[in-house]
């Protein structure tokens, strides 16, 4: 008797299952139909990093070439070149520019970099190899002058590795030249 009862209960569970899928069948689909629609969660998207310019001079990055980001980056994506003002470009020894050894993200001890210090170094090149980047955001976080930000180009795509080796300084200058064009791309 219990076997039959159990079987009946089991068969009923099958009908309940059919009811669930039947109900879902009648409801509209929830997937985003990509080329016709776009997803709505792009505002919190984090792409590769970009340089932030001075508010009054969009050609000049805030970067002071402290090279914390270069050191912190777990994947070694970043390579920065800079020189001391007055010296020739590329002349400065890399060691001279080194400020910290192992910076801690979120560290308050950003103060030692004095305002005067900030003007001391001039950025010559900021190479980002996005191929190796794991988007951890540590570089953005260790930056003492908030010179790094995440870009928001969701549809970034490329056909070769070289397409993801960015010169961020050039990107900054391109953006300064034609803000409209880049905004469209982003």
């Amino acid at each position: 008797m219990t076997t039959i009862q159990k079987t009946m209960k089991g068969l009923w569970s099958l009908i309940v299952g059919l009811k669930v899928t039947g109900k879902e069948f009648c409801r509209p689909w929830i997937t985003v139909h990509y080329p016709r629609q776009e997803v709505t969660n792009l505002d919190s998207y984090r792409g590769h990093i970009d340089l932030v310019p001075y508010p009054d001079d969009s050609n000049k990055p805030l970067c002071i070439v402290c090279r914390r980001c270069e050191e912190t980056c777990p994947s070694g994506c970043i390579r920065i070149d800079g020189h001391l003002p007055g010296a020739e470009s590329g002349e400065a020894a890399r060691e001279l520019l080194l400020i910290s050894e192992v910076p801690l993200p979120g560290s308050k001890a950003r103060e030692p970099i004095h305002a005067a210090d900030k003007t001391l170094r001039v950025l010559d090149g900021f190479a980002l190899n996005y191929n190796f980047c794991s988007l951890c955001g540590l570089c953005v976080q260790v930056c003492p002058v908030s010179s790094l930000t995440f870009s928001s180009d969701v549809y970034l795509a490329g056909a070769s590795r070289a397409d993801f080796e960015f010169d961020l300084l050039r990107r900054l200058r391109d953006r300064a030249k034609s803000p409209a064009k880049l905004r469209k791309a982003a």
């Binding site: 669930v20 777990p74 192992v102 801690l104 993200p105 308050k108 001890a109 794991s134 951890c136």
Partner: protein
Amino acid sequence: MLDKPSFSLNGDYYSSRFSALGKSEGDTLVLNLGPQHPSTHGVLRVIVELDGEYVKRAEPVLGYVHRMHEKMGEVKTYVQYLPNMGRVDYLHALAWNWAYVGAVEKLMGLEVPERAEYIRVITCELNRISSHLLWWGAYVLDLGGFTPILYAFDDREMLMDILQIPTGSRLTYCYYRFGGVSADLSETFLIRTRGFIERFKTRIPMYQDLVTGNMILRGRCEDIGALPVEMARRYGATGPVLRGSGVAYDVRRFEPYSVYDKFDFDVPVGKNGDAMDRYDVRMAELTQSVRIIEQALDAIPDGPFINPDLPDRFLPPKGEVYYAVEGARGKIGVYLLSDGSARPYRLKLRAPGYSNLHVFAELAQGTILADAVSILGSLDLVIPEIDR
């Protein structure tokens, strides 16, 4: 030339060793399940010896996604190792984040602000729900039901949208920092989390109707792969696998870390330790996670989200620490040995899946092939975590 097979019919090292070790009597068939097989979720390889449909012996072969995470810990600085933790177990990345961050905080004696602890609890539990949801869908998929995984992904997608707000990523989160988290929770996050919870409460009964109560599914899970407590202990199984066998061991309850002692939640346990019990435990944990999140959302204090007095130079003292958290798959442990330099001297990751997987070989013995697949699915394995 084509007629001559260019490969050895005895198979590679593992399968030839498997055949040599205790070949059973009679006409048996040695079958490789994986490393590319629909039910091994990634690249696990299981060698089984079949007598008809019955599994005589089974042996998992590991290492197909070994990425040297432990060795990487020795060559990277403490900070640089953070993004690795999102990639050990990509389904419950935040728990691994937490285990590592917690170990370093313990080593350094760093304080974590109250708000940061609550943020960690909320995000980690949300991540646990999404991990359990994926397991649920994948398990039913293993048992041949196609539709549930897509319903699960519906919810999971919302969770990923929510977690994307503070973390910026959708899967391999790198969110926790030593002494806090990398970004505060926004108002949008809180509103959407509450919205998700309300919706999720109506989804759980739907899941019960569609799958849990289903006669066919119960037939595939009940009395399959019963795991005795003694055996679970012998292999060091933790998490829902151990709780399914009736041991109420949950790190959140028994060695409360962070602010977990402030929340009121149950530790669901099973009775027989079969696949159905493991299933039920995980489904009950969904509800418990929702409870924890609700309490945390109500009680979250104001304050900094990261310790404001962090040292600039990050050189931890000499010493060793072990820090364990409860992941979706069990006890996640990080053992750190510091020699006082900028890099850990040794870093050991205790992956719960590794211990849980090895239960399989013994459980699968004498079962039908379809049951072996069911058992494998019920252990909730994430292969990259096992291989590390």
